[in-house]
Amino acid sequence: MNENGTVVVARDVTRRYGEGETAVDALRGVSVEVPKGRLTAVMGPSGSGKSTLMHILAGLDKPTSGSVTVAGTEITTMKDSELTKLRREHIGFVFQFFNLLPMLTAEENIRLPLSIAGEKPDKEQFAQLIDSVGLGDRLSHRPAELSGGQQQRVAIARALVSQPEVVFADEPTGNLDSKTGAEILELLRHSVEEMGQTIVMVTHEARAAAIADRVLYLADGQIVRELSGASQSEIGEAMEEIAAR
């Protein structure tokens, strides 16, 4: 973690797919700072590059140029083994389609990052985590026996269990109905408020972005606007403006 309280820093990041005439520039020079203990939302119409930005910030994809540091370390030049270590220690993921392992119970899914790292969970902290995501009686169920909202709760608990520096959430409500989605957003907000968790969330829903401390708008691979502490309607209006350009 940086002394100035930013967890992720990106500088002049570009990303080009393909070569020659068919090349597509997904990102054209993006610089971002993700402050610690805050929820940052990345919005934008489809094809704006918001997913690409998140993949690069999380070390899943490599930029064509530019630099990215996570917890103060440059990640764009990391080898696979270093990236693995980074993900293990500093990064958590929440996916749109939950990505739970179907053969494991909810509890086993939550513990998985720790068991991969060869660690044992702190009992008290684990109980607290379970309590905060509200899964008490569903722990021994397999994903197939859980509702979408419950599955996403498991996924969030899994992302939080190793107490990462930053959690990346990719359209976490994209596959949920609005009521369940709201509960999930509340849970994410809660983790920021109560545990001081840093979260980067990619979404195209104003409703979701409304829980963010800060909203970044991407269009055509560039950051075109930034809002702080905005309401859902302000966020929605800004989004419409950008989409209309």
Partner: protein, 849 residues
């Protein structure tokens, strides 16, 4: 992580089970082979140790080499005057003399009783000295003069009862004898279908034409005398050409031949188990690869959660390990069942193997488990490598493709090099010397060729599916066209699936082509050589028969020429060789091509003349007038002069490397035997002449009269039995590949759930869905068959080009049968996956994520 892997296996039960079958069958064959051969081995050991249980020393004829059981050569018996001398030795408590014969047949209703190739044993029994008698009476009494006891298995099979009269024939004519009793051999009910005939000593000596002679003396020492001391004492009175051994050593000596047979059987069957395992390895590689492709999302998620490449690789290897262990254990026990089944099978076809119970040795357990586990682990290596290439970003991307590996672009060149290397080793093997070197090079070469061709065939899959799938588009309509496109869309997968079948088909084609070559060249050879009207052999076509048969045949009315070929073993230039001898009449009934000398040589060999085949002459630098030293079974040596050299026909020589006159042969060999006799009649081949010949042979039920055509067919029938056994054993690896196809199809259907749902939604009927899967399966099988058959023909061509006595003959019928068999394999493999595909509910399939 471990529990994750194990639970993953549990949720993928079906595909794990289908993959495991590939290993189970191979391991079962291996363990079944060990169990079967160990059990036979133990049973035989108990038979032989039973025989010598109260024997401290044995005296047997001594010969310069071990004469094989069915070679036509018998060791010279010794004079029975030795027995009283042995009995008179101070340390001998008791001694017994006996004679034995391996061609003592029961004749029932004018026909010899024989089961398969099992021997017909005859021997003397002496109930007065029960300590030496390993037979036990079940019914009736021990035999008196001109009486016989029969073993229980034969008596049961042939409905023989005590008091009944039965024909018995050994060396002389058939004699009618009363059955005095039914006996059992120790604790064993049967010895591999052998018939046992026991007589009192004088009767046996007369029947075996060993009057005043003995084949063996068994002696027991007085209490407190060690076998060694007894042996030393016997040695002082031992005449030349006899030897003395301890009872245990004699048991081992007697067991030698069966031990060799069992060891051959073991390696022979093991080879097929290993082939099945090799095919199984292909199935595993393919199934695991597909599974990993389908688990891309899951593996990528693991990576995002911090799993390293190593952990992903280990999870795949661990999965394979668990599967390998389970499959090997199941295979091991299935092998026990298989061995039991084989015992029953052999029993059902009349070749009862000695069986004292199933024996599971520690070695069987270790080797079977180790083989199954190691093969599975090796096969999991490449899929595990693939799994490590799954990038974490695949967790968020829909339909992420695996990035090609670093060595991907070298794949085809590498496969080509592998194939070339394989063929190189094959050719090298063909030109090498020493059985083990040749075998090793041939096996290694074939393995490399199989792996290379399997990898090399992927780029050709689109073309092959296009051609071999053409009928499907005509028969199956839209479903057929879809099937053809499906077979083409993942060439590597189709190629690997077909490769498993390819191996089996290449091997059956190889066998069929070699057999066709042997048959064709054999027919050619017989047509060239056989200038007589009739041939006479044993009923089983290959056992040597007493020479009296040939003499009787020559006396049939109307015979203008008759010649016999004696067969046996002797030492030539110090090496044990299969030697032959001819009667002078042979020159008129057999025509061979002479490079030096002429037909007349066969008639004028005289006391010291010999003719040799060209290869043997080249090896030993022989020309007309060269000397050839021979040592006979009696230990007597004689030098022969080469009078002729002949060029053996492709298809095999009717003679051994060295042939001498029957007269000389008979003088040096106790109980000489003929392999075949050829007879020529004034009127040629007609029914009257045949009747005359059969009439003159009526006293020899074991003699079979055949025309030229019958002779060829009969000789080839032995080859056909061998072929059928090979086909059945190779079918095992084809069954393994069948499960490979089932597995691929099940996984493919699973993968295409959404697509099949879409097709169903736009109007594909259940029937058409099934048809689509079935056609894809058949196309895959046909690709395997096509590549396999072509490869088999090439491999056979290579072998035939090297081997002089074979010609290439295209096995048309067999190839058609194999292609049909492949289609059937395809149809069978599709049954289950097609049903699964047809059962998919279109709506649910579309929802499937």
């Amino acid at each position: 992580m471990t529990s994750f892997t194990l639970k993953g296996l549990l949720t993928r039960k079906l595909r794990t089970a289908l993959t495991a079958i590939a290993i189970i069958l191979g391991v079962a064959t291996v363990s079944g082979t060990f169990v079967l051969t160990d059990s036979i081995d133990k049973a035989f050991d108990s038979i032989f140790s039973d025989v010598y249980r109260n024997t401290d020393a044995t005296i047997t004829p001594k010969s310069p080499f071990d004469a094989g059981g069915d070679s036509g050569t018998s060791e010279a018996s010794f004079d029975e005057s030795l027995l009283p001398k042995v009995k008179a030795l101070p340390d001998v408590q008791a001694a017994i003399g006996g004679v034995a014969s391996e061609s003592t047949q029961f004749i029932k209703d004018g026909k010899a009783i024989a089961y398969g190739g099992a021997p017909n044993l005859g021997f003397s029994v002496d109930p007065a000295q029960p300590q030496f008698n390993s037979l036990s009476l079940v019914l009736g009494a021990w035999p008196g003069a001109d009486e016989v006891v029969v073993d229980k298995a034969t008596a049961d099979k042939e409905d023989l009862t005590v008091g009944q009269t039965i024909g018995v024939q050994a060396e002389g004519p058939v004699e009618q004898m009363k059955i005095s009793g039914i006996v059992k051999f120790g604790s064993v009910s049967s010895i591999g279908g052998a018939t046992l005939a026991g007589f009192d000593l004088p009767t046996a000596q007369r029947l075996f034409e060993k009057k005043g002679k003995l084949d063996q003396i068994r002696a027991a020492a007085k209490p407190g005398v060690s076998p060694d001391k007894l042996i030393a004492q016997i040695r002082t009175i031992l005449p030349p050409n006899t030897e003395v051994r301890s009872g245990d050593a004699q048991a081992r000596e007697d067991a030698k031949e069966t031990d060799e047979f069992i060891s051959f059987l073991r390696y022979f069957l093991l080879a097929f188990g290993l082939i099945a395992l090799f095919v199984g390895a292909f199935v595993i590689v393919n199934s695991l690869s597909i599974t990993i492709a389908q688990r891309t999302r899951e593996l990528a998620t693991l990576r995002t959660l911090g799993a390293s490449r190593r952990q992903v690789r280990l999870s795949v290897v661990l999965e394979a390990l668990v599967m390998g262990v389970l499959a090997s254990i199941v295979g091991l026990f299935l092998g026990l069942g298989l061995a039991k089944g084989l015992f029953s099978l052999f029993d059902a076809v009349g070749f009862t193997l000695p069986n004292n119970g199933i024996l599971l040795e520690t070695r069987t357990v270790i080797v079977s488990l180790a083989l199954g586990i190691i093969v599975t682990l090796i096969a999991s290596f490449f899929p595990a490598l693939r799994a490590t290439r799954v990038p974490p970003i695949a967790a968020v991307r829909e339909g992420a493709e695996l990035p090609p590996g670093r060595f991907h672009r070298f794949r085809t060149p590498f496969a080509a090099v592998l194939t070339a290397l394989g063929f190189g080793l094959l050719v090298l093997g063909l030109f090498s010397h020493g059985t083990s070197t040749v075998l090793l090079l041939l096996i290694l070469g074939t393995l490399l060729v199989f792996i290379g061709v399997a990898m090399l065939s992927a780029p050709f899959i689109p073309v092959l599916s296009g051609i071999l799938g053409w009928p499907a588009t005509k028969i199956g309509g839209a479903a057929g066209s879809l099937a053809r496109d499906n077979a083409r869309r993942n060439p590597q997968r189709t190629a690997s699936t077909a490769a498993a079948l390819m191996i089996g088909l290449a091997l059956v084609t190889l066998v069929a082509t070699l057999a066709a070559g042997i048959t064709a060249s054999f027919r050619g050879a017989v047509n060239d050589i056989f200038t007589a009207d009739f041939a006479i052999t044993a009923q089983n076509n290959y056992s040597p028969i007493p020479t009296s048969v040939g003499r009787a045949a020559a006396k049939a009315p109307g015979v203008t020429a008759a010649g016999s070929v004696r067969t046996g073993e002797s030492l030539v230039f110090g090496n044990k060789e299969f030697a032959t001898a001819v009667t002078p009449g042979a020159k008129d009934v057999m025509t061979i091509k002479w490079t030096e000398g002429s037909q007349e040589v066969m008639g004028n060999l005289g006391a010291d003349g010999a003719f040799v085949d060209k290869g043997f002459a080249d090896d030993h630098d022989l020309t007309i007038g060269s000397k050839v030293p021979m040592t006979f079974v009696t230990g007597k040596s004689k030098t022969f002069t080469v009078k002729g050299i002949f060029d053996p026909p492709t298809g095999g020589s009717p003679f051994g490397p060295v042939t001498i006159s029957a007269e000389t042969w008979d003088a040096e060999n106790p109980q000489p035997q003929d392999l075949y006799t050829f007879v020529k009649f004034a009127g040629g081949e007609n029914d009257a002449n045949r009747a005359a010949l059969e009439q003159s042979l009526s006293g020899y039920p074991n003699a079979k009269v055949q025309t030229r055509q019958q002779f060829i067919d009969n000789q080839i029938s032995g080859l056909n039995s061998v072929l059928n056994i090979l086909y059945v054993l190779l079918a095992l690896s084809i069954i393994v590949s069948l499960f490979g196809i089932v597995n691929t199809l099940v996984l493919t259907v699973f993968e295409r759930t959404r697509e099949i749902g879409m097709l169903r939604a736009i109007g594909l009927t259940r029937r058409q869905t099934r048809r689509m899967i079935r056609h894809e399966s058949v196309i895959t099988a046909l690709i395997g068959a096509f590549v396999g058959i072509v490869l088999g023909l090439i491999l056979a061509g290579l072998l035939i080009a090297k081997v002089d006595f074979l010609i290439f003959s295209f096995p048309t019928t067999q190839v058609i049968v194999f292609a049909i068999a492949a289609i059937i394999v395809g149809i069978l493999a599709a049954i289950f996956p097609a049903r699964r595909a047809a059962r998919l509910n279109p709506l649910e399939a579309l929802h499937y994520e």
